[in-house]
Subunit: 306 residues, 3 copies
């Protein structure tokens, strides 16, 4: 049950006990801040698709552990441009003997492909619309910090539930903690049947609605996601749906007083900045918490005594 | 009057005493070179617009202090491409708890916007055509090193005085040291009235000429700047004016023997390489000095005992 | 005969003794792995042309020596985009006082240009179709590891012998060790006369063939290279020749049992992945070995006691 040298490709790879352990260690790192416990450790950040947030967060997590990083921030700077296969790029990086490969790639399953090849542990930092497991660990951490307890919450998930990998990973991760879900989206962007079947199999209660107002009154957490322009086939489709999900200050009227609002960011129009200052907003706490959570996960991969 | 944890957005934010103190500490770092006084400190380099020189100079200043850096070298690698606002990017980076945010951005006032949001101190590394305060500190340092004294110099500033942020910051910074200015430019690129009014208010002597020969004989410093192609509205406008300001070896004929020539670089045609080898050229000393000056400024922000 | 602070622009700059010494020290670093012998040393990685492999390999070599790096991964992030000359960029980086400048540039002779200007030692990490000396040191190291001895080998070099800088550097480097060469290429991509004349002058045996089967039976090493799309003038020329050189598993049928196959990577179609698992394949050992070889070279430049 040790996470030592393990690949982290999906939240499915993690047991409830492992998730709890990561969150506990994250709390320790959040209090401790910077250490040099892992001086000399090196992570390769292989970002075939750009992402400020995730790149810098992992980069800092390594540095706050005393380690360092190498790699690339976008495919433009790589041999991919010369026609090299993902397999060859990963084999090459892996041959360099780094302590972990942290990978973002536009293609579903790419992290698994990399992990099958690499001797170094691979952390999936987002593979297309599939999964982004460390984001979910961050989400859980922030929810736990704000709510005190992860169990028995009513979670509303709003937006593009079809394409948002953060949603997929989150549902799987929360499933360990007796949640109730409300999926709020236009029909075109409804969550895939495979996820619904999994929830049924686990006897987890969920419902699907098109309008947030149908469920807002009983939500403990509202998780808002971006309509991901880059995953739509035409601009028209994107423009048509873009306007329909805008969460602003008025959402609080019918809500529980202690509702918290999360968003994996970046946001565009779906979440108004007028919410930033209210107590319910927890999305910039998520970005803050992301450092300690990633420190914890990396520390466990590198081998913290357990 | 401490610079500890202060934002550095404009040279206007610095008193004469603070400028003098930075230059003194820069002299100490120039002699000392590398130290590890600030081991564990981390700077986020947020370059929304590329710049080799400034990026690498700040990156090395941090490393020569024993610290490290994170961030991005151009907006292409960021969530900006996904439509994220500057505010959200800065809030995110700020939530990571870095010791300083060093920011280059094409938009005037963007550094101020960032500083208003961020808890971490923000250093403006160039905001559009507005300001570039650390470049001015470098300019002052090099002038002082070469001239022995910053006071009572006749400074000629040549080129695109309308758009060059380095010029704007330089004029403000030098104003503390009883200068006399000659502004040398085509009428289309003349310095803005706001700067002239400020000089009048401070009773600082200046004149505007179109031809450098009118003033060369009495100049102590000739500060040459690039016509910034990217700030022109049409290519024709740029091409028309480009050829008119080319400084070559002949400039020295009518000049004081100890005239020094500065340029913030990069240069294109406005300053001939035939000057590189002459004693009067000080522009590669500027690049060299930039490291020690930035080490000094960062050290003061991090909290050198004063 | 010391390599201390020396430029490494071409394998021609290295005597046989120096090559042997680098390979010996590389063996030591391959066994030792990471050290912090060169804590505080800084390399500027100036990559005007992207290259994952070489960039990350040098970056890690510095980090595994305890040092750090600065610089840029592609010209897009540099002042080159503003029209700055290579000379000025190098003068600037050089003025920052780094311990070594490691440079990749599309133009033949650019590394020499940089070295003529810079006080810091310059390592050529590829200058157009000219040379890539550290790749050749890696090639020699891997051959020696696999064959036990570098001397008296029959080396087949296959592919684009006209444009592949790695081939040019390799031929020069191997020439110290009594090799026999077979150059295998279409006539359009034959090796330049200058290299053939040099081999004649050194009384080194070589032949040119169009079909690998003519020589495969007696080869000790088969060195395969990519047709470099970016060096062809038209896409048609590239497409015409691309298909003619595909090395797959069948090549082993007529080959010596202990033939080793090398490739500087990246590969496209010229070398089949079906060879990856066979004992004869040595190309991912090359990537692995590249770290220790570069550690050794950098250590000697920084000044290992000899």
């Amino acid at each position: 049950m040790s996470l030592h040298k393990r690949d982290i490709l999906s939240v499915k790879d993690l047991t409830k006990e492992e998730i709890v352990k990561i969150l506990e260690l994250a709390k320790w790192y959040a209090a401790k801040g910077r250490t040099d416990h892992f001086k000399g450790k090196v992570a390769a950040l292989c970002f075939f698709e750009p992402s400020t947030r995730t790149f810098v967060s992992f980069d800092l997590a390594m540095k706050y552990l005393g380690g360092s990083t190498t790699g690339f921030q976008s495919a433009g700077a790589t041999s991919i441009a010369k026609g090299e296969s993902l397999q060859d790029t990963i084999k090459t990086i892996d041959s360099y003997g780094v302590d972990v490969i942290i990978m973002r790639h536009p293609q579903i399953g790419s992290a698994k492909t990399a992990a099958d090849i690499a001797k170094s542990p691979v952390v999936n930092a987002g593979d297309g619309s599939n999964e982004h497991p460390t984001q979910s660990l961050v989400d859980l951490y922030t929810i736990q910090e704000r709510k005190g307890d992860l169990n028995n919450l009513h979670i509303g998930v709003l937006g593009d539930l079809k394409n948002a990998r953060t949603v997929h990973s989150l549902i799987l991760a929360l499933s360990h903690f007796s949640p109730r879900f409300s999926f709020i989206s236009p029909k075109e962007l409804a969550i895939d049947d495979s996820y619904k079947e999994e929830l049924k199999r686990k006897s987890i209660d969920f419902r699907e609605v098109e309008n947030v107002n149908e469920v807002i009154g009983s939500l403990d957490v509202l998780y808002v996601t971006r309509l991901q322009k880059e995953r739509f086939e035409t601009l028209e489709e994107y423009e048509k749906l873009k306007g329909s999900y805008n969460i602003g200050r008025s959402i609080l009227e019918g809500a529980k007083k202690d509702l918290i609002i999360l968003h994996p960011l970046p946001r565009i129009d779906e979440l108004s900045t007028e919410l930033d200052a209210v107590e319910n907003a927890a999305y910039f706490q998520q970005t803050k918490d992301s450092i300690a959570v990633r420190q914890a996960l990396l520390a466990l991969i590198f081998g913290v005594p357990s």
